[in-house]
């Protein structure tokens, strides 16, 4: 096997991620006769030792509180505002309903205002062009508008 492939396997071997005994034996046999790979393995072991000596930090005393303030407690605060104004949602819903009714009413008024004009124009057309009206109603209505 090529040394480049052996070196890749040695990276797994040093992490205890090669469990097959035949591959382990193959690597051991290769290391016994290849000084380059032996040197590589030694340097890899040293690196693992250095990284194992890595000291990490501990969380600060207030980190947990900071997180809670921005998550659970923040939501609770929002709930608290709802507690102060418990009917807020009811009022906003009622306001929307009133606005909708007013809008519908104004539309209906507009339609009501239109209808007498239509009737007037239509009546005028009937009296002035009674004969024609009998013949072609659509033309009379059109002439009343234009």
């Amino acid at each position: 096997m090529l040394c480049s492939k052996i070196k890749l396997l040695l990276n797994k071997y040093i992490d205890f991620e090669i469990t097959a005994p035949e591959i382990q034996n193959l690597l051991k046999a290769h290391l016994a006769r290849c000084s380059s790979c032996r040197k590589y393995y030694k340097s890899l072991r040293s690196l693992k030792n250095i990284l194992a000596a890595y000291e990490n930090i501990s969380a600060g005393a207030d980190l947990e509180k900071k997180i809670l303030d921005q998550t659970i407690n923040r939501k609770s605060q929002f709930s608290g505002q709802q507690m102060l104004f418990p009917h807020y949602h009811f009022f906003s819903g009622a306001l929307a309903a009133v606005a909708l009714i007013a809008l519908l009413y104004s539309i209906s008024l507009f339609k009501i205002e239109q209808s007498p004009i239509d009737e007037y124009l239509l009546g005028k057309a009937i009296t002035e062009n009674a004969d024609l009206f009998n013949n072609d109603k659509k033309n009379i209505i059109a002439s009343a508008f234009y």
């Binding site: 194992a52 501990s58 600060g60 659970i72």
Partner: protein, 179 residues
């Protein structure tokens, strides 16, 4: 707490589930964020950001992957965003000896920080997850959403690069003394 128990708790009491998760993973998230950033203040900021994301999306966790994998993935992505925001990563072909700021007072941690912080993001993430956090290759491939073969090659190259950097700082006898 097993993931299934956590999921049941999540269904009944979200806040309690989150508190439990925070207690269990707070230090683990911090331990990933710290080598990424190199300073404790930034690491704590990232940890906060991670838990806010977790809290806002906790209902989306359905147990399709391990809870730890899900949390680590969020952490690595948040660290990636942080790196992109701050642009602290130095290109691979940088002048390593001149770039390392090592004084006699620096401990191993400072030296390692300096060396790890100068790795490209993909190399840094595999080194941190494998050699500092002790995750398996399969777990890392799930966290980073890449193939195990990709993890292998990244780890191989990352270790080679890191060795080169550290060789300039530590004498062989110092390294052997750590064994």
């Amino acid at each position: 707490m097993p993931d299934t128990v956590f999921l049941n708790l999540l269904k009944t009491d979200k806040n309690q589930a989150f508190r439990h998760l925070m207690k269990e993973y707070q230090n683990r998230v911090l331990h990933i964020a710290f080598p990424f950033t190199g300073n404790s203040a930034d690491a704590e900021d990232i940890t906060q950001e991670v838990f806010i994301k977790i809290f806002n999306n906790i209902e989306k966790f359905r147990g399709m992957s391990k809870l730890s994998t899900w949390i680590y993935r969020i952490t690595v992505n948040t660290c990636k965003n942080f790196t992109m925001r701050t642009k602290k990563t130095v290109p691979l072909n940088c002048n390593i000896p001149a770039a390392l700021n090592i004084s006699e007072d620096n401990g191993i941690r400072d030296v390692l920080h300096e060396a790890i912080s100068r790795l490209p993001f993909n190399f840094k993430s595999v080194i941190i997850l494998k050699d500092i956090e002790g995750k398996t290759r399969n777990e890392i491939s799930e966290i980073l959403k890449c193939r195990p073969g990709t993890v292998d090659s990244r780890l191989f190259r990352a270790r080679n690069l890191l060795k080169k950097k550290l060789k300039l700082v530590f004498r062989p006898e110092e390294i052997y003394a750590m064994q």
